[in-house]
Symmetry: C2
């Protein structure tokens, strides 16, 4: 077990080291451009502060990802050992690994923002660079990790299971360690960077909204501190919630994780009550807005579970349709993914409208509805507080998310080291819970991306001095069309990157099977590290082009078509990004679970034609749910932070 775990550790560290090296070079160039090269005509925002903030944001994001990976590669073997003792012990160790991860990511963001806020003379607008740096690093982390993990998964399955006919997680497969490394760099470091970015963007956006005259006159600097203290309560709530995660005799592990989340949510709600009384003059409407956010988080998780769990009708429909073949099964899967967006969007839409109305105190707004209207400013602060509410439970959500890959790794370690059957049964049980929590946290990731993006819009409009984004103007309409198209184009590149990285790995695995004598008999060892090395290089190479597309396009559109067109690009890009992310995440999860349903012995079970059909669906869903989908969460936020960071430049636009 030690041997395997240390191979995973070495591989994950090698991957992250190389990834951070790649990011560093691009980040330093960008920081220099931001800080020095690009002149801000209004001399207001761009400058040394933005450049320094950018570097610090990227650094903190990477550090958070690194800590997360550091913890998870050390928790997996302990979890494996714990599982051999009891379910409760395995559950607790895996979950506590996740908690360290969650607390580290969130604290790092809070620390960075609070420090910069003090250094930059309490002007939250100067923190924009930090947010841009965080989303910049997050895109590379999530996309690169996503490409790596799925390419390793696909190629290990394809050559191992299909061609060489050996089972999953078999030590003879040269890609098996790369596959386990992938869980750590994709799901752990990638998702960590993703949510680091969400909470960072939310904090900065909410603080900027606190600067709006109508809000500032009411709460003063307290309105800026509120988001930071709310985040602190989330950390405390998570810490306490941790103690409620334990498995009573034969209790479903999912139930005990839910208990931890509920406790955290209740403590966060209490925290918002206290903060509203202390900082917001007891204006209870804002407390209700926070509740809207917390309830929204629960509903989003519920919708995601309904559409992706095999206890529910949609995924069962995929399994049934697969009886007629892979194509009807996949078609049903695509339909389920598309349908899943409906309830989700209704939840988000109602949350935004309700929080806005609460922010205005349900008074009639009157006058022109734009940023100059005091009621409008208060309404926006209401949506900011709902976003804080939703994001307050983030550390706990991250713990649940980390739980998945840690148990997955533990299962792999047990399998490869030939642990007894009963331990593996326990690890399978934990693993299936991990699959569910991973799907739920992705839904949460999308919702938080949507709400934080909405906060950043107003900051953008304020910088460029716009009152709104009028879609009816041809330049804005075109910018918006381009924003929507970018999401499709990026997704296409992400999916293709998995394919081309996998192609490189497949050749290497085939080569090893052919050239290393005794590998199939188990007398010679496969060269894991070479496999990891090759796929690391390929994944990092393939992530650069799509990332640059997202960084450069909004700048080009803003400079040519003007700031309002850039606003159209980022708003419609955000909407389409949210929809496509949901669609791809849920298609993948539903297809995966339809396969699991068959494997649980239904409709013919493992080895039947139906099973073969669902395996095709599952393989197709992988790059959608673990590469393109989660990367889109980051893309949505990156589009917003980048336009915000370079916004002053757009005032020089050709068509302005």
């Amino acid at each position: 077990m030690r041997e395997i775990s240390s191979a995973i550790k070495v591989g994950a560290e090698a991957y992250l080291a190389r990834q951070y090296r790649t990011i560093s070079i691009i980040a330093i160039i960008t920081a220099v451009l931001l800080g020095v090269g690009i002149r801000d005509p209004t001399n207001q925002w761009l400058g040394v502060e933005t450049g320094v903030g950018f570097l610090l944001g990227a650094l903190c994001s990477n550090l958070a990802g690194y800590i997360a990976m550091y913890i998870s590669v050390r928790s997996n073997i302990r979890t494996a050992r714990g599982i051999m003792t009891s379910l409760d012990r395995g559950l607790k160790i895996a979950f506590r690994g996740g908690i360290v991860f969650g607390l580290a990511v969130v604290s790092m963001s809070l620390l960075g923002i609070a420090a910069l806020f003090m250094i930059f003379n309490r002007d939250p607008r100067l923190l924009v660079g930090f947010g841009f740096g965080a989303s910049f690093a997050a895109l590379f982390a999530q996309l690169g990790g996503g490409i790596y993990t799925k390419a390793a998964d696909m190629s290990a399955d394809l050559v191992g299971k299909v061609e060489a006919n050996i089972p999953e997680d078999d030590p003879r497969n040269p890609a098996v360690i790369a596959d386990l490394v992938g869980d750590n760099v994709g799901d752990i470091a990638g998702r960590g960077a993703d949510l680091f970015e969400s909470i960072t963007a939310e904090n900065i956006g909410a603080m900027i909204l606190g600067l709006a005259p109508a809000v500032y006159v009411m709460f003063g600097v307290n309105g800026l501190l509120f988001p930071l203290l709310a985040r602190g309560f989330g950390l405390i709530g998570t810490f306490i919630g941790t103690f409620f995660v334990y498995s009573r005799k034969n209790e479903d592990p999912f139930t005990s994780l839910t208990r931890g989340l509920v406790v955290t949510g209740v403590i966060c709600a209490a925290g918002f009550y206290v903060l509203t009384v202390l900082l917001l003059n007891g204006e209870m409407y804002f407390f209700y807005a926070a509740l809207v956010g917390i309830v929204g988080a629960v509903l989003v998780a519920w919708v995601t579970d309904y559409y992706t769990s095999y206890r529910q009708r949609p995924t069962l429909g995929i399994a049934t349709a697969s009886e007629s073949g892979a194509a009807p099964g996949i078609a049903t899967g695509l339909a389920v993914g598309m349908e899943s967006t409906a309830l989700f969007i209704i939840v988000i839409g109602v949350a935004i409208l309700l929080a806005f109305a609460l922010g205005t105190g349900f008074t009639s707004v009157g006058g022109t509805m734009d940023l100059t209207n005091p009621a409008f400013q208060k309404g926006l602060y209401g949506t900011a507080i709902a976003t804080m509410g939703m994001l307050s439970v983030t550390p706990m959500i991250l713990a649940l998310d980390g739980f998945g890959p840690i148990t997955d790794n533990a299962g792999g370690i047990l399998e490869m080291s030939g642990a007894p059957e009963e331990s593996r049964a326990i690890s399978d049980r934990l693993d299936s819970v991990g699959n569910t929590t991973k799907a739920l946290t992705k839904g949460y990731g999308v919702a938080s991306a949507a709400l934080s993006a909405f906060l950043l819009f107003s900051a953008f409009l304020e910088v460029v001095g716009l009152k709104g984004v009028d879609l009816f103007r041809p330049a804005v309409f075109t910018g918006a069309l381009i924003g929507a198209m970018l999401i499709f184009f990026f997704s296409s590149l992400a999916i293709k990157a998995v394919g081309s990285t996998a192609a490189v790995m497949i050749l290497e695995i085939r080569r090893q099977f052919k050239e290393i004598p005794g590998i199939m008999e188990g007398t010679a060892k496969a060269d894991y590290s070479r496999c990891i090395d090759i796929s690391t290089k390929a994944a990092l190479r393939n992530m650069i082009y799509p990332s640059l597309l997202i960084v450069i396009s909004p700048i080009v559109v803003g400079v040519i078509l003007g700031p309002e067109a850039a606003g159209g690009l980022l708003m419609v890009g955000t909407m389409v990004g949210v929809l496509m992310a949901l669609f791809m995440n849920n298609v993948g999860a539903a297809l995966d679970n339809a396969k699991k349903y068959i494997e649980a012995g239904h409709l013919g079970g493992k080895g039947s034609l139906v099973h073969a059909a669902t395996v095709i669906g599952d393989t197709l869903g992988d790059p959608l749910k673990d590469t393109a989908g989660p990367s889109l969460h980051v893309v949505v936020k990156l589009l917003n932070t980048i336009t915000l960071a370079v916004a002053p430049l757009f005032l020089l636009a050709l068509l302005h």
Copy 2:
């Protein structure tokens, strides 16, 4: 041959009769609500005119679809006979069937609009009901036809080819006639209704823009007549272009069809020149705008061909990826479909911006950029003329589109009647050309939907008295999110409708194979008509729910969240609709052609594992490219005409 052709004829007529009956009932209720039940607070637009126009629009659309089907079911047998003589003869007959179809659809629209324009005292704003009726009928026709044709196709393949192991188009298969009927009701009657709606919406939208003060003061009623006369030139151009479609010895049929299209395009361009001189005071900028539209149509066709033809890299990539299995092949297909939106959107975006700039005469616009600005009004008229340019070649495009199903049917008739091998080789050659033209006309359908929708936006804003659609207002943002989501939800319902209709048919086909003795030996005949009857009923039942979703949602949003939110819904819904339509059309076409590439003998050819993988991809692509995708063209326009028709109602909105 006569027997088969008459079975197709009877089936298609039975389907359309039942479909029109279903539509009639819903249409009459809607017309009464429009004309009487709904009160217009401003007493300006809604009323008897809208109700009457609505009914007439639906009637003309259905009539155009019926004529198209009437011609095509009579051309198929003649084409089959022609093919037995020579390639040239088959090509000419099939194409001329298509031409009658194209001329009939376009003339019907021109006739209806011109007549109503005279009756309604030359006020184009009263024509809105006609446009709504046309799009209403088109949605049912395209969606119902699309569900029917793909369900028949899928179930015939699944039970016939896979279970009973008989070849395609085998007369023993009870669903074989239903499959051929499907080509006529889906591709012919459906696409006819789709483009009937595009040109109708374009004419009405352009005429309303001609009413804008800055335009009206320049051109008077000539600015309103221009769109009608431009349409007339398109008819003349197509008529002349027809004579250039003939196949010289061994000439590729595609070349001769292209020649016909080029001649039509040149005549249309000349027509625009003449009309600009005569009606628009020789303001050549508007002529250039028309050229932008014509060139745009060519570029759109080129982009579609690049992404879906198996002579090009993208589709070849799918074939290569399928060597690793169905899942990598389909993943690559999805990536190709997503990527294909990029160039397309750039063409459309540049066309809109360029035409707008030409409309303003490339002068500086100045002042606020909204509908009250004279330069803005002229710019919009420029985009209207570019749309006219793009749509001027519609009759010829429709002829190319009709060409596909007619040759497909002819091939089926030849196959079933045991024609000699060489005739079938010719029919295969024509059939593959038909596949290409079908894909191109779909790209054209999306482009025309996007541009005509853009024209309708301004009409909508004028009615509700808005200057723009500000995405930054929470209600508008939410409306826009809902618009985007509706497209995903509708697509999901359309895909599922194919699956559930196919499930009903599969049961019936299996029953016939089991219960009719001698069916497999060819001694007893399959009960084709029962199969047609069952699938007709199921398809029509399954089309109602998605259609009502699209009709009712914008009204609900407009009434609750106000007119500007409805504007957000329709604009973002249009953008996402265009992207998803492109994505689904091109995924389907590329996967289909990847299979054809393998079947042409590459990478192992028919019967290989690669072939099996591409067959799965092709089957998956069918409901995307022939049901959901084309229905979205119509949805985009319907969202626009419905909000326009009931717009006055939104002034009573709760949150206005």
